[in-house]
């Protein structure tokens, strides 16, 4: 059920009967954006994208139109469109409903990207754990091909485009775009040295457009209604809406499509129905597990890329994790570090060894064997990783820990007497 504060653009077909089928899609403006785009020049498509101020929904927030514009269309090499559906950021589950309930919207978005950069082959890289979504996407691709939206001479336009799914094998790192490309090529999922960026040398060293599921999903609406229309849904530099995955200790967790710039307070207390059990808010992770935590003092921050950055964190993937007063922040730091240590690809030294050391230290600390010097050391280890790693995973592991040590030092000190004070109270971190 839609929440009244939602602005449903990319999720507007969610909840329709058989929403994933091509017939439902076609009955609700499906592939109309493609028909329109087929009559546009690539320059015009990219121009609309730029006007929309759509920023990449994977986490980095890079303007999508700009990215598409970097692809050299005159290149003698083939160009590829790759969709990053390796949604693995803890607290993030927005790409899942986009593929589950409206796979054709994604296909349409990818097709329009193909038109914009003169590509004839797309790939959707889906995380291996989304097994059932692969079947849904494959079925949708077959349907689209059957109706002439994929394959040779699409809708009689002369445009050819093929699309295939590829499954990840369970590595979080493969959500990083260059590691994704390595994995898609059949190699170990480790990141590449950049530059060159994928727009110039991506899949098989060919120019490649690589965006997140949600980014492509927004494309049809932008083409149909115009970039300006989409832009106005959000704030000046943050066009449109986005799916926020609201989780943690809120009364109504869920995936909500909200305009960019909605204040955090409204998101938690109106959309999410407030903190469960009427408890107090302690901390919020605003953009997936790799972003520094915000505290109640930040409740009035507008949830857009720039405002959250100004508050010292990141909007990231839009995974908002809410933690109440009973949460042990040491345990939070440990849980996050366990995740990043497990998912570190091991390619570069500071991430491989830093996450491991940090995990061992925090585990020992939380178990009651910590000493005062460990508190500062945890922060220092994270600082030593920050900015020194090959890819952003190291930063992602470091930032939350740094912010937790800084803002919740007193909770670490409370552990020095040998036990976790929150576990004594039956906390649920």
């Amino acid at each position: 059920m839609a929440h009244p504060l939602e602005v449903r653009i990319i999720s507007r077909r969610f909840g329709l009967p058989n929403s994933a089928s091509i017939d439902t899609f076609l009955a609700h403006q499906g592939y109309e954006a493609l028909r329109k785009a087929l009559k546009m020049t690539p320059e015009a498509i990219i121009e609309e994208m730029k006007k929309s101020a759509l920023r990449g929904r994977g986490g980095a927030g890079f303007p999508a139109g700009l990215k598409w514009g970097f692809v050299p269309r005159q290149s003698p090499r083939p160009r590829y469109v790759v969709c990053n559906a390796d949604e693995g950021e803890p607290g993030t589950c927005k790409d899942r409903p986009l593929m589950e309930y409206d796979p054709h919207q994604l296909i349409e978005g990818i097709l329009i990207a193909g038109l914009a950069v003169d590509s004839h082959q797309g790939f959707i890289y889906i995380r291996g754990e989304y097994r059932y979504l692969i079947d849904i996407m494959d079925r949708a691709i077959e349907e689209a091909r059957g109706r002439g939206f994929l394959g040779k001479n699409i809708l009689g336009s002369g445009f050819d485009f093929e699309l295939a799914t590829h499954t990840g094998a369970g590595s979080y790192e493969c959500g990083e775009e260059s590691a994704l490309l390595e994995s898609l090529e059949g190699k170990r999922g480790v990141p590449r040295i950049r530059p060159p960026f994928p727009a110039v040398a991506g899949l098989y060293q060919c120019p490649t457009v690589l965006n997140n599921v949600e980014t492509y999903a927004a494309v049809p609406a932008i083409i149909l209604n115009g970039g300006d229309w989409y832009h106005k849904l959000g704030t000046p530099k943050n066009g449109g809406t986005r799916l926020f995955a609201l989780s943690g200790h809120v009364s109504r967790p869920g995936v909500y499509e909200l305009p960019l710039g909605m204040p955090l307070r409204q998101m938690i207390y109106e959309v999410g129905g407030g903190i469960r059990g009427g408890r107090q808010l302690k901390a919020v992770i605003p953009g997936g597990s790799s972003t520094p935590v915000l505290t109640p003092e930040h409740l009035d921050v507008p949830m857009d890329f720039d405002s959250v950055a100004k508050a010292g964190s990141f909007l990231g993937s839009g995974g908002v994790i809410v933690m109440d007063e009973d949460t042990c922040m040491v345990k939070v730091a440990l849980r996050l570090t366990e995740f990043y240590q497990h998912e570190s690809c091991g390619w570069c030294l500071p991430c491989r060894e830093g996450t491991l050391w940090l995990r061992k230290l925090l585990a020992r600390f939380h178990a009651g064997a910590g000493v005062n010097a460990d508190i500062g050391r945890a922060g220092e280890l994270a600082e030593n990783m920050l900015g020194h790693t090959f890819c952003p995973l190291g930063d992602a592991a470091a930032m939350p820990v740094i912010s937790i040590v800084k803002q919740f030092r007193h909770e670490f000190e409370q552990h020095l007497n040998g036990r976790c004070p929150f576990e004594a109270k039956g906390a649920r971190a």
Partner: protein
């Protein structure tokens, strides 16, 4: 500071004398940016950048010596040491470990890590390679040198994150060329050598750079010696023509030196049995017989070595010609160098301009490889050809009658039937057509591609010899630019043996014995009258010895009776060798000889590059070939002049065509090209005597049988 566009920051800094530390960066291998040691401050960049991935640019401001950079280095080293065992005193790498050095220079002086270390057990991957996971710092040099440098891909990264290790692709063991490059390139004690590990501390070793005694490529190997025993071979200072490269033989197959079957005292046949004798007894026995035969006017036959240095080869032929008055002298010819030099001279070009060096294979725009299998028989030249294709975009053309590994690097390959190389050469030279389709098409296409090249470098095996080489040169002369050649011969001094005149028709420097002017020059120098006609070739000598036409056969460092049969007892057989070979077993007197690693002198590799060999060990029993020849001559009453290696080399410089090289480079350990100028000796004929032993990476003629390490690897 200035640097060429595209130069990586780390290289530009190093060339300017500024060290930017790194583990994973390795010149010539792909970039990793994994160890993060080379982080530097670049103005306008928000974060520290890896100097190994950023190319220099105009006006770039870089700081390598700031607190921020030092903090980053210190923290990287701290991370490295978290799991690395801190047991340097018992680590095989202690004292020559890059991690140890780096921590000494840039690391913290204390350890903050209090947690439990990960442990994995040490693994034996092959007789030559062991892996100790906890010591591994995951710089991936080993994986890259194996994939990129060797094109073997035996190693891979296994697991992920903190459990990442290096592992053999074959699963638990190495299915590879056993080159040991991964060990030398390992900055820490993770990969260790099967023969050296836990034997010594590096500071108690004596290091002797010399030239490998196995194949004809002439790699420099630095022998680590302790207590008159070689403990390892490597080329860690990368100073030779081989740079960082060495194959299994250069690295491990020195162990024949200490083989239990090594001859340590002379043997003299008494009542049908070889029994130990003193040197005095043995030398007197040889000299007495030689004197007697000389007085009787009996003929001698002399067979020289592919392994012994130039001085030995030169002195041996001088002894034969000037002392024993015979041109019956030969050796196992593994390449027809004489025919190549003759063909070049006769086609009107200066041979010296057309004989390529080993390093030319790294830079040649195009290389044509006919026959041979350099991966097995010439590992350095194969490495150079691969590296040229990989890093310098050279083009490689391969002609062979069988599939060879270097085809993977080839721009074009042509498979021909065995024995058809001559026909192909005539076709390539445009003298014949290819015949009927389907043969026509591939031959035509291949010729078209070659004709589009200029400055071709032609490398060929024993498939091309005698007249075939004249046809090859004729083809080469149809191409644009300067066509150059490398003839592939088997052993470390195959070329030198030929150059020094271990040939029945040729004085040193391919000077024909039949030419009175040439003879007169040597006669004046040696103060003798030389026999005027060509002598017997190797097989003819053995036949003549077998039916009593030769009074004596003197074999120095060769094992001809492995291939040929000799009727025992028909002539006096003297054999000078390290082991009781098939030939030595039939001898009347066996004289224990020193190995190449036990003498000073020079050798010439198959490309004609002259290099110094240095004595790494003293011998207790065996004597240097040069010394033995001198002693026999002296006992026989023949004056050969000074027989020290330096004096003999001086004479070589003075008398042998192309060997009048500048001493400075040679003395400094460089490879100096020799430039044979006289190529008139085409009367040799007998190309049927030219044949390669077809050694593999794990065999090395007779010598290889006495390397336990090669044997272990063959069994692995």
């Amino acid at each position: 500071m200035t640097a060429a566009p595209g130069t990586l920051l780390i290289e530009a800094a190093r060339r300017a004398g500024i060290e930017i530390p790194a583990f994973c960066y390795y010149p010539g291998l792909s970039l990793q940016a994994a160890c993060r040691m080379c982080l530097v401050e670049i103005e306008k960049a928000p974060k520290l950048q890896t100097a190994c991935t950023v190319p220099v640019s105009e006006g770039m401001v870089v700081r390598t010596n700031t607190p921020k950079v030092h903090d980053a280095r210190r923290s990287m080293l701290e991370f490295l040491l978290t799991n690395h065992p801190l047991d340097c005193p018992v680590c095989d790498k202690g004292g020559e470990c890059e991690l140890q050095d780096m921590v000494f220079r840039y690391g913290a002086s204390f350890s903050r890590f209090r947690e439990e270390k990960r442990h994995t057990d040490e693994e034996k991957w092959s007789p030559v390679v062991y892996y100790d996971g906890p010591r591994c710092i995951l710089c991936y040099r080993c994986v890259r040198v194996c994939n990129e440098g060797m094109d073997v891909s035996a190693l891979a990264i296994v697991n992920r994150g903190g459990r990442t290790l290096i592992g053999p692709n074959a699963g638990g063991h190495l299915d590879c060329e056993q080159c040991g490059m991964c060990i030398d390139i390992c900055p820490v004690g993770a990969l260790t050598s099967g023969s050296y590990r836990h034997q010594a501390r590096p500071w108690e070793l004596h290091y002797v750079p010399t030239i490998c005694t196995h194949c004809g490529d002439g790699c420099k190997t630095t022998l680590s010696v302790r207590n008159n025993r070689v403990l390892r071979g490597n080329n860690r200072d990368q100073s030779g023509i081989n740079g960082e490269f060495l194959c299994i033989k250069g690295r491990y197959a020195f162990d024949f030196l200490h083989h239990p079957e090594r001859l340590t005292q002379p043997l003299v046949r008494q009542e049908g049995k070889l029994v130990p004798a003193t040197w005095a007894q043995a030398l007197r026995a040889v000299a007495a017989r030689f004197r007697q035969l000389l007085e009787q006017g009996s003929a001698f036959g002399i067979i020289g070595s592919n392994h012994a240095g130039n001085e030995t080869a030169y002195l041996l032929q001088k002894f034969a010609r000037a002392g024993l008055r015979t041109n019956n002298i030969d050796h196992h010819r593994t390449a027809d160098y004489a025919a190549l030099i003759a063909a070049l001279a006769r086609s009107g070009v200066r041979p010296a301009d057309r004989l390529a060096g080993s390093r030319d294979l790294l830079t040649a725009r195009a290389v044509l490889l006919i026959g041979n299998n350099p991966t097995e028989q010439h590992p350095l030249l194969a490495w150079n050809m691969r590296t040229n294709v990989r890093l310098n975009k050279g083009r490689l053309y391969v002609v062979n009658h069988r599939a060879i590994k270097l085809e993977r690097q080839a721009t074009a390959t042509l498979r021909i039937e065995e024995g058809r190389a001559g026909a192909l050469l005539d076709f390539l030279a445009g003298q014949t057509t290819a015949g009927q389709p389907p043969a026509l098409q591939p031959w035509n296409e291949f010729r078209d591609r070659l004709r589009a090249e200029s400055d071709l470098l032609v490398v060929f095996g024993d498939e091309i010899k005698g007249d075939g080489i004249a046809r090859l040169v004729a083809f080469g002369n149809t191409l644009g630019g300067v066509t150059r050649y490398i003839a592939l011969g088997d052993y470390n001094n195959s070329r030198g043996a030929s150059d020094m005149g271990l040939l029945p028709g040729s004085l040193p420097g391919y000077a024909p014995v039949e030419d009175a002017v040439v003879r007169a020059r040597f006669e004046a120098e040696w103060n003798v009258t030389l026999p005027p006609g060509p002598g017997l070739a190797l097989d003819e000598m053995i036949a003549a010895a077998g039916d009593g036409r030769l009074g004596a056969l003197y074999v120095v460092g060769a094992n001809p009776l492995k291939r040929y049969n000799l009727n025992a007892g028909s002539s006096f057989l003297v054999v000078q060798d390290m082991f009781l070979t098939e030939t030595a077993r039939q001898a009347d007197v066996v004289l224990p000889a020193a190995a190449v690693y036990e003498v000073n002198g020079t050798v010439t590799n198959t490309c004609g590059e002259l290099q110094r060999i240095r004595q790494a060990l003293g011998t207790n029993g065996p004597r240097a070939d040069l010394e033995i020849i001198g002693l026999i001559a002296k006992e026989t009453g023949i004056s050969l002049g000074p027989v020290g290696s330096e004096e003999v080399f001086d004479e070589i410089r003075r008398l042998v065509n192309g060997y009048n090289v500048a001493m400075a480079g040679l003395a400094a350990g460089e490879a100096v090209p020799t430039a044979p100028a006289d190529g008139r000796d085409a009367s040799l004929g007998r190309p049927d005597l030219v044949h390669s032993s077809g050694d593999t990476l794990f065999t090395s003629g007779t010598l290889g049988q006495y390397s336990d390490m090669l044997e272990a690897v063959r069994r692995h």
